[in-house]
């Protein structure tokens, strides 16, 4: 068996946690318990988990507006996350960040980012720190197909090559940036080829296939840790929900989502594969499904019971370390 049981269980549990978390976010949002606007990543779990499963807390990731999955994959506490998304004082960011700004520096999670393309330049910095301090840590940034057209991202790729930074650029190509097709907004035939043109190894993988994605990223991580510089990985995947919760998704094809949920579900694919290969038993995964559901249920209950921030003490706090 090419993978340890513990590894497979962890991968499945984490993906399932994301799925459960995101679907619950939709429900809680619709129920009025989540303020603002929120982007969920269900359908894209395999990429987040494949990218983060081998990282330590000292490795840094930078995320996007669609960041819950990355956070969970990087080890952020789902309770703290749910509280944050609900704007509670005991949330991961004391309720000041919200869904689009969850960060957890202790876990090497440098922040979701509500600015498309905001993260990759920052991850260059995390990678630069690792390189300068000789820690062998790496940085990994997530971005969507749409983000790939943002100038900040493009120049970050060049900079990473020039400075040989241990930074893996993950592009989750879910086919859309909001309601615009990736194929429309990307003038090129292939994002991966465009990125390869910047002078770094670039690979396109099936982001619904946890194992293919994992192997490609693993190679990239090894290269980065050994001073081989950056890599670009484009992971083809599917967004099960709208751009934001509540998006009527008029731009999607008839039955597109239904079919995707049936045929392009990375969790189903994972289950099928591990069962077919005889790596895990269905019952173990069913058990995980149950415990995960319970955990998320608990996270929601805790979040709903959690205290709200107090403007008198919290509004003006933490703008500066000192001022």
């Amino acid at each position: 068996m090419p993978y340890q049981t513990e590894f497979l269980l962890r991968a499945y549990r984490t993906m399932k946690t994301i799925r459960e978390f995101e679907e619950r976010c939709v429900k809680e949002f619709e129920g009025g318990n989540i303020p603002g606007f929120t982007h969920v990543s269900n359908g894209q779990e395999a990429v987040a988990v494949a990218a983060c499963i081998d990282l330590s807390d000292k490795d840094i990731i930078g995320s996007t507006h669609r960041g819950h999955g990355h956070c969970i994959a990087k080890g952020c506490d789902v309770g703290g996350m749910m509280k944050e998304i609900m704007g509670r004082a005991t949330g991961l960011c004391k309720g000041k960040g919200g869904s689009m700004h969850i960060a957890d520096i202790d876990k090497g999670m440098l922040g979701a980012n509500a600015i498309v393309g905001g993260g990759p330049p920052l991850c260059n910095g995390a990678a630069l720190a690792a390189k300068t301090l000789g820690t062998k840590n790496i940085a990994l940034s997530f971005g969507g197909d749409g983000s790939a057209n943002q100038g900040t991202v493009l120049e970050a790729m060049n900079m990473a090559v020039v400075l040989k930074l241990p930074h893996i650029f993950i592009y989750e190509n879910n086919g859309y940036g909001e309601g615009t097709a990736a194929n429309y907004a990307l003038g090129c035939e292939s994002l991966t080829e465009r990125n390869a043109g910047f002078g770094m190894p670039a690979e396109c993988v099936d982001g619904l296939d946890f194992f293919a994605t994992y192997e490609a990223i693993k190679t990239a991580i090894e290269r980065a840790r050994n001073g081989g510089g950056p890599t670009s990985i484009e992971a083809m995947c599917v967004r099960f929900d709208g751009h934001f919760i509540g998006d009527p998704q008029l731009y999607r094809g008839k039955d597109e989502i239904k079919l995707a949920r049936q045929q392009q579900d990375c969790l189903k694919k994972f289950r099928e594969r591990v069962i077919a290969e005889g790596w895990l038993q269905e019952s173990v995964m069913n058990e995980i499904d149950e415990t995960t559901a319970v955990a998320i249920e608990q996270a929601v209950a805790d979040a709903l019971a959690a205290p709200h921030p107090d403007p008198a003490t919290d509004l003006l706090a933490d703008v500066y370390c000192s001022y």
């Binding site: 600015i115 990736a182 194929n183 998704q249 008029l250 999607r252 597109e256 403007p311």
Partner: protein
Amino acid sequence: MTNHSNNPQVAGKTSVKTYREAINDALRQEMRRDPTVIVMGEEVSGGAGAPGQDDAYGGVFGVTKGLQPEFGRERVIDTPISESAIIGAAAGAANNGLRPVAELMFFDFIGVCFDQIFNQAAKFRYMFGGKSKTPMVIRGTVGGGWRAGAQHSSMLHSVVTHMPGLKVVMPSNAYDAKGLMVQAIRDDDPVIFLEHKIMYDTKCEVPDELYCIPFGEAAFPRQGTDVTIVAISNMVPRAIQAADILAKEGISCDVIDPRTVSPLDDEAILESIEVTGRLVVVDEGNPRCGLASDIAGIVAEKGFYSLRAPIRTVTAPHTPVPFAPELEDAYIPSTEKIIAAVRDVMGA
């Protein structure tokens, strides 16, 4: 709703329209009238290249809905997520015969295209010795109240007001929104048109015909003699509410809505202060080097001898916009805070 004491008389029918509809009206009618007007930005139509419905969004706030079906993708242009390229294209096109209306979905995104705004579009005419013109509009949504967090809720009007070469427009109601948008499109200078996202559903009677509201002319939604309240954008309804409450206590407030903050109708403010001797400036933006102190500074220089009390500014604090509703509500100046400031200058 608002009392537009100095508004032009517009002939013809009016109807109740939302702020959103009023802007859509202005865009559509101007596009019909002038084939050089184009609209561009992310999702201004929506659905480009996608299998589903065209014009799927019409802007994420629906402001440009229906334009693409009428004018086509050549004039209603969905773009990649590349704000520098969007603004640059608008500025370059404006110098070459078009009147582009470019959208920044959230004005917070000026960070990724600021050079094209303040160093390019704004400075062309001056740098080139008066030999070019750049008739473009940049539409952007501003403001909090939407629980959108620190990177999607800023005002940032003060930053563009600082910039010579730009005009900055901040309508506070649907009537003004339409007339100011028409003026913005016809204006030969680059105009920043800031739509407060919390106001999109607010309504008032709006003429069906086209009309312009000139820049640099304030509106006077309430008239009074004790205290001048200058408020912009989303703060205007709150200032009006405060004035109405205070009127019952016998405090008479002169509410001024500058409507455009560059150019600014400082004369209207100074004239009002001659009468009232007291000034409260209300601004949802951050305080340092912001519009509130800008206006306070102008009055402390040019209206000093009229002043009978310290100027009071009511602004957001010097913090980013917080996410949690309780915090955001405390962040944005409230009617209560305006009332307190007015009482304060009256007591003084």
